[in-house]
């Protein structure tokens, strides 16, 4: 008896998930965004296995520098060193997919914790942390990131950590607002009355009720992370040559655009733009479905 009723509850939960999924699938923006993301994920996972040519060929295998697109079997031409642009853009997805989502997830994680504490305890805790956040947000994001990576080195871990810390205050604000509304409800009072600890109330009682804004925040943040990581790489605070990273490639090749060789810089730029747009399309759909 109990087991069957338990199943019923579980069925009902999966039903809600299914319904949300069904709603998502019916949105063209979600489908289109997912297709873009899926393409880049495929490139990132496949790496050299799916590229048409070797992205980092040995000296002897290099083509003629600045071969134009659609010539000599180079779909998007070659770059200033004679490497295949298409293959490099495809394999460059790997760095983005490693760094951006991890950074975003960490940022959302820290931000959620901070927001929970601020929204639940309020009072002076909220005041102090709130002013700190304001201070962090007042400094230009990219400037601190550059400073930190210059001081601490340019490894992936440093980039991930920096972006995560930069995102934390922004996420914290969103979560704080949601938690504040929840903490005023009587079930929280009731939990206090039976002697629950603050940690229990925050993690078991409140968190399950604020998952929607957190999930929405996460998808939005991943999009921003792609952008921030690429910017950092462009400015030199990220992967170093001969990495095929998009931001790095753009910074190496953009000077040639004025000389008429637009493709080595423009193609990775389009890659970044398409991925960010794809993620934002998906994020918008998720937000609409969760808030409906």
């Amino acid at each position: 008896m109990t087991a069957t009723v338990h199943d019923e509850a579980r069925r009902e939960r999966s039903q809600a998930r299914k319904e949300r999924w069904h709603l998502l699938r019916r949105r063209p923006t979600f489908v289109f965004g997912s297709l873009i993301i899926m393409f880049w994920v495929f490139c990132a996972i496949g790496g050299e296995g799916v590229t048409t040519k070797d992205p980092n060929p040995t000296l002897s295998k290099l083509g003629t520098p600045f071969t134009k697109p659609f010539t000599d079997g180079y779909l998007f031409g070659t770059d200033s060193r004679g490497r295949d642009v298409l293959s490099r853009v495809m394999s460059g997805a790997r760095d983005v997919f490693l760094v951006a989502p991890i950074a975003a997830i960490l940022g959302v994680l820290f931000g959620t914790m901070l927001g929970l504490i601020m929204g639940y305890f309020r009072g002076w805790v909220d005041e102090v942390l709130g002013r700190l956040i304001d201070a962090v947000l007042a400094i230009p994001l990219i400037l601190i990131a550059l400073l930190v990576t210059t001081v601490l080195g340019k490894s992936k871990i440093v980039v991930i950590g920096t972006v995560a810390v930069l995102f934390t205050p922004i996420v914290a604000r969103t979560v704080r607002a949601a938690v504040m509304a929840e903490a005023q409800l009587d079930y929280v009072t009731s939990a206090k009355l039976r002697g629950e600890s603050a940690v229990f109330i925050m993690s078991r009682e409140i968190i399950p009720n604020v998952t929607s804004p957190i999930i929405v925040e996460l998808t939005v943040r991943i999009g921003y992370a792609v952008f921030t990581v690429a910017t950092l790489a462009f400015l030199g605070a990220g992967p170093q040559p001969p990495s095929a990273d998009w931001g790095l490639t753009i910074s190496q090749e953009y000077g040639n655009v004025f000389g008429g060789q637009w493709w080595p810089a423009t193609i990775p730029a389009i890659a970044i733009a398409s991925l960010v747009i794809g993620i934002n399309l998906v994020a918008d759909s998720i937000e609409a479905v969760y808030n409906a």
Binding site: T2, V5, Y187, T189, S190, K192, R194, P208, N209
Partner: protein, 677 residues
């Protein structure tokens, strides 16, 4: 000449609102679900017609349909609505706009959300006149006049204010002024006083009553409060599952109901001063059918005590039981034979009256931007074993603050003490011993807020059981099942989440949780105010039963004096953070009373229609940040003695043993003033 005569005559006889066989359905996921199943009633000009029934019966849908103001998924599938001779159902959009601007008005439940918070009152009132074609200065003059008409003393200054600067009662006056701007032939009032205090409610109802005499508008009043309907309406229609099941003159419906549903509704109410130890309250078995349900025969058949085979196979006709009194029932003559509920729980009144919790000189001062706001001032209160102490007073009087101080959510100011049995309790629940936490629990007003919507009922109860009693595993499961049994929750309910339960079931879960650790004291903060009367009756019965078996004490907060009278053994009356009067329920309802209690008691519109003279309370409860001098009640007191009340703190007079009144007027004088033998 003759032509004019004819029109004049036809206007005076034609109903201002004629709803004929109206059927409305809501589209839910593409499927039409029927809500109104043929509603028919007529309202004459100048007449007030009341619609009553539980939530979900279609009252509000009828009101909205009368103005064709249904939500976007609402469709009129049949019938007709005629207002002043025009068919509302056949109007074009443009005609409809004209009709709503000139012929009909509506007053909603929440005045706060009916006014635009960013615009000054003046602008909003003036707009309702410019819409009618007045130029700016005429509109302004007429707006001032309209505000004066709804008895706003200083309309010039009110027009310059924003909605948030007005009290709820004032806001509702402004809305009524706007609704009357076009001198409508139909005025729809949808729960106009729900959410207002009894004293303010009485004020608004008085106003509507006077305005009725000044205008010829037909009034359609929707209210779940039967007392309001009785005191306001000429005729009443009782709705159930989208049909009017009984219709008659107001007095007739309430004194001589001819439909089992009406009879049940009235018996659910604690009336005629009935008390918990006299009998339990009547409850209507079952629940309202869901919208769109297929009801081919009598709509009430599943919950009716009179139902037989005929009721299950044949739709009942509308029976004219007396002149202007009709009932949709096969057996209206059997209604009066429905027996009253059985005698209630016998309460052990001979218990030794041991005090469980005691508050001594408890004060609570909040600080807000440097200002101190005393929300509780010197509260002395004790609660005996197995006793219910009712706590009444207008909103803002400090009832909830007192409750929260007792349960340890607001720490009282230093100097005050709280005792459980004979040991002192720390102010905050976090500092209290687990036995103390277990001893004092709470049932909240709104179960939606009080139950975690992501937890199953089983998890909610089990967590409370393990946390409060310390048992776990199988033992805890057993205890949860036991609790569920007592509260009449089934195993199925235990595995559902709160939103899958009805309001009454949710409140049962909340009560079960409060009782998880066999508490000594349960604080009930308006536990039934969000519920329908039949559900309220079931919950009150349950609370009484639990008290009888467990000897639990209740601190019972309610604005409904009928409910308090039913459940409470003693009553404390609060005003501005102070206890003005405390005594047994008989003391409070028998008098002599503090003038504030007197006003509160007389403000309640009664279902039984005893028309005692009402005492008007002017103004509103002052802010606790800046309490009046002397007696805090003196600016509103109808019996104020200037020279004493405004300068000196009143003494506490003992009217009889255990009945004390905080007033300058000696008790004997109060007795004379209030005509008490």
């Amino acid at each position: 000449m003759t032509l004019i005569d004819v029109t004049a005559e036809s206007v005076s006889t034609a109903p201002a609102l004629a709803v004929d066989n109206l059927e409305v359905a809501y589209m839910v996921r593409g499927i039409p679900r029927q809500v109104l199943r043929g509603v028919t009633f007529h309202v004459k000009p100048g007449e007030a017609y009341g619609l009553v029934g539980e939530s979900g019966c279609g009252k509000s849908t009828t009101a909205f349909a009368a103005l064709r103001y249904l939500p976007s998924n609402g469709v009129i599938t049949g019938g007709k609505v005629m207002v002043a001779g025009d068919d509302v159902t056949a109007m074009t959009d443009k005609q409809l706009r004209q009709f709503r601007a000139r012929d009909a008005s509506m007053v909603y439940q929440d005045p706060g959300s009916a006014l635009n918070p960013t615009l000054r009152i003046g602008k909003q009132v003036i707009e309702s006149f410019t819409l009618l074609g007045d130029d700016k200065s005429t509109a302004r003059d007429r707006a001032l006049q309209a505000l004066r008409r709804v008895r706003i003393a200083d309309p010039e200054s009110v027009m310059g204010r924003y909605p948030y600067q007005l009290s709820g009662g004032m806001q509702q006056r402004v809305i009524i002024a706007m609704a009357l701007a076009c001198d409508p032939s139909l005025l729809v009032l949808d729960e106009p006083t729900t959410g207002l205090d009894a004293t303010v409610e009485a004020e608004v109802l008085d106003l509507v009553r006077t305005l009725r005499n000044e205008s010829n508008a037909a009034i359609l009043l929707i209210a779940h409060n039967l007392g309001v309907i009785r005191s306001m309406c000429d005729r009443v229609g009782v709705m159930y599952a989208g049909k009017i099941v009984e219709e008659a003159r107001a007095q007739e419906v309430f004194d001589n109901p001819q439909h089992p549903y009406t009879d049940g509704l009235l018996k659910c109410l604690p009336r005629h001063g009935v008390r918990k130890n006299q009998r339990s309250l009547y409850t209507i078995p079952g629940t309202l059918p869901t919208i769109g349900a297929n009801l081919p025969t009598c709509v009430f058949v599943d919950r009716c005590v009179l139902a037989d085979d005929k009721c299950r196979t044949e739709a009942p006709p509308v029976v004219e039981v007396a002149s202007e009194h009709s009932s949709r029932c096969h057996y209206p003559d059997k209604v009066s034979e429905i027996p009253d509920p059985v005698a209630g729980q016998s309460f052990d009144t001979s218990s030794e009256h041991r005090v469980v919790v005691r508050m001594e000189h408890v004060s609570k001062t909040f600080r807000q931007s440097g200002k101190s706001i005393p929300a509780l001032v010197g509260i002395d209160l004790g609660l005996e074993d197995g006793e219910t102490l009712g706590l009444v007073g207008e909103s803002g009087s400090g009832k909830s603050t007192l409750a929260k101080a007792l349960i340890g959510i607001h720490a009282p100011d230093s100097g005050g003490e709280m005792y459980l049995d004979d040991h002192e309790m720390p102010g905050m629940t976090t500092d209290r011993k687990s036995a103390d936490k277990r001893a004092i629990q709470m049932v909240f007003q709104n179960p939606d807020s009080a139950l975690n919507r992501n937890w199953t009922v089983r998890r909610i109860l089990k967590r409370s059981v393990t946390k409060l009693t310390g048992v776990s595993g199988k033992e805890a499961d057993e205890r949860v099942n036991q609790l569920a049994d007592v509260l009449r929750l089934t195993q199925r309910h235990l595995d559902l989440k709160p939103r899958q339960l009805s309001g009454g079931l949710k409140q049962r879960v909340a009560i079960a949780r409060a009782f998880a650790g066999d508490p000594r004291v349960v604080v009930c903060d308006e536990p039934t105010s969000a519920l329908d009367v039949s559900v309220q009756a079931a919950i009150l019965n349950l609370l009484a039963e639990l008290q009888g078996t467990n000897n639990t004490s209740y601190l019972f907060i309610s604005h409904d004096l009928g409910v308090v009278r039913y459940l409470a053994d003693r009553i404390a009356v609060m005003y501005l953070g102070r206890i003005m009067e405390v005594g047994t329920t008989d003391d409070i309802f028998g008098g002599p009373n503090h003038p504030y209690t007197e006003a509160l008691l007389s403000a309640v519109p009664s279902v039984d229609g005893d028309g005692s003279e009402r005492i008007r309370l002017d103004g509103e409860i002052p802010t606790p940040a800046d309490p009046p001098s002397g007696c805090v009640f003196h600016p509103r007191c109808p019996r104020v003695i200037i020279g004493i009340c405004d300068t000196d703190e009143p003494p506490v007079n003992e009217a009889s043993l255990g009945h004390s009144i905080r007033c300058h007027i000696p008790t004997d004088e109060l007795r004379v003033l209030q005509n008490i033998e």
